[in-house]
């Protein structure tokens, strides 16, 4: 039990494929908060995001044998989660390129969501707040890259595999995204 923490994600999945449920539980532990953060920025609703994350783990459980060594576990799990999030958003008619914060700034959907303004999840300072809303206003392809790189701390290769784009495109989009953010934040960052 003690060394299960030392196993790689891939080793855990192989263990789970052989029927070891504790390996599955460890995968859930490793990914639940990461996934929640990622999906939350899409859904802007804490409960909804948790729902998506749970459904993701259910799929991981049921489809464990479909995982093949060719992909990283993180890529596989994020793909499931993102697809579930996109489906849920489009079913609710909110698939507006994942952007919840409207271009005009005012958005009652944001205000309605009490989860973001209670229990210690308030963005700490004004700068964080401004950065998040600037990320929200990026084009989806840029926002996604920034989220995966800076929030989920994925490598270029992982992002490329997840989004099915060349590594070079990941880099250039990330550059472009950061430059856009810098323009948006020029008065806050000297």
């Amino acid at each position: 039990m003690a060394d299960i923490k030392k196993l790689s994600d891939e080793e855990l999945i192989f263990k789970f494929q052989k029927g070891d449920e504790s390996a599955y539980n460890e995968i859930v532990e490793r990914y639940k908060n990461k996934l929640l953060n990622h999906i939350f920025y899409y859904m802007k609703d804490r409960e909804w995001a948790e729902d998506i994350v749970q459904d993701t783990f259910v799929r991981v459980y049921l489809n464990k044998d479909k995982y093949k060594e060719i992909a990283k576990v993180s890529t596989w799990i994020y793909t499931i989660a993102i697809n579930l999030a996109k489906t849920a958003l489009s079913r609710n008619g909110k698939m507006n390129a994942f952007s919840i914060t409207g271009k005009d700034g005012e958005n009652d959907y944001e205000i309605k969501d009490k989860h973001t303004t209670t229990d210690g999840e308030v963005l700490k300072n004004e700068l964080s707040d401004v950065i998040m809303s600037s990320i929200d206003e990026l084009e989806e392809k840029f926002r996604e890259i920034v989220m995966l790189r800076d929030v989920d701390e994925m490598s270029y290769e992982e992002i490329a595999a997840l989004l099915k784009i060349p590594t070079g495109t990941v880099k250039s989009r990330l550059n472009r995204a950061r430059l856009n953010l810098r323009d948006a934040l020029s008065e806050y960052i000297k």
């Binding site: 908060n33 948790e50 459904d55 259910v58 700490k124 800076d150 070079g168």
Partner: protein, 169 residues
Amino acid sequence: MAKCGKIEEMIINGDLEIDLAVETNDTVSVHLAECSDCRMFVESLRKISSEIKNIDRIKVSAGFDHALKIKLEAAKPESSSQEIKTVPFFTRMVYYAAGVAAVMIGFMYVSSLGVFDNKKGNDMITAPVTFTVASNTDKTKTVTTDSLENLRENVANDEELRMKVNTGE
């Protein structure tokens, strides 16, 4: 005030990766040492990156694991087969009896159609059979009967038919 945009240009063109330590690139480090515009530019990009990384992370709620467990139980394919295993003995017997009864009723129905009777080797015909025999008035005569016994009787009572059958026509 024309600001220097050399590094920015390199980044836009993809010649330089923001994430890499720009100091490892000789051309860049030489330029940065002498250009405050570009130094500030690189610094601001790094600050954005680190601010994004420092944004408060949320954590799953206390009920997350429990809710996941319930969803898993509902979705597991094993859960349905386990249910069958725990069906009480008496209920299982009722299922078996119903199954046996259904098979028997089915057999009785099929045998009532006469499917199995031909194997008995006697000359009983339970389903109606039509025989067509040519009559001496150049017309055909049709006799419908349900057994060979009745056919013989029909032929015996019918003068025309008896003649035809006896002459072998």
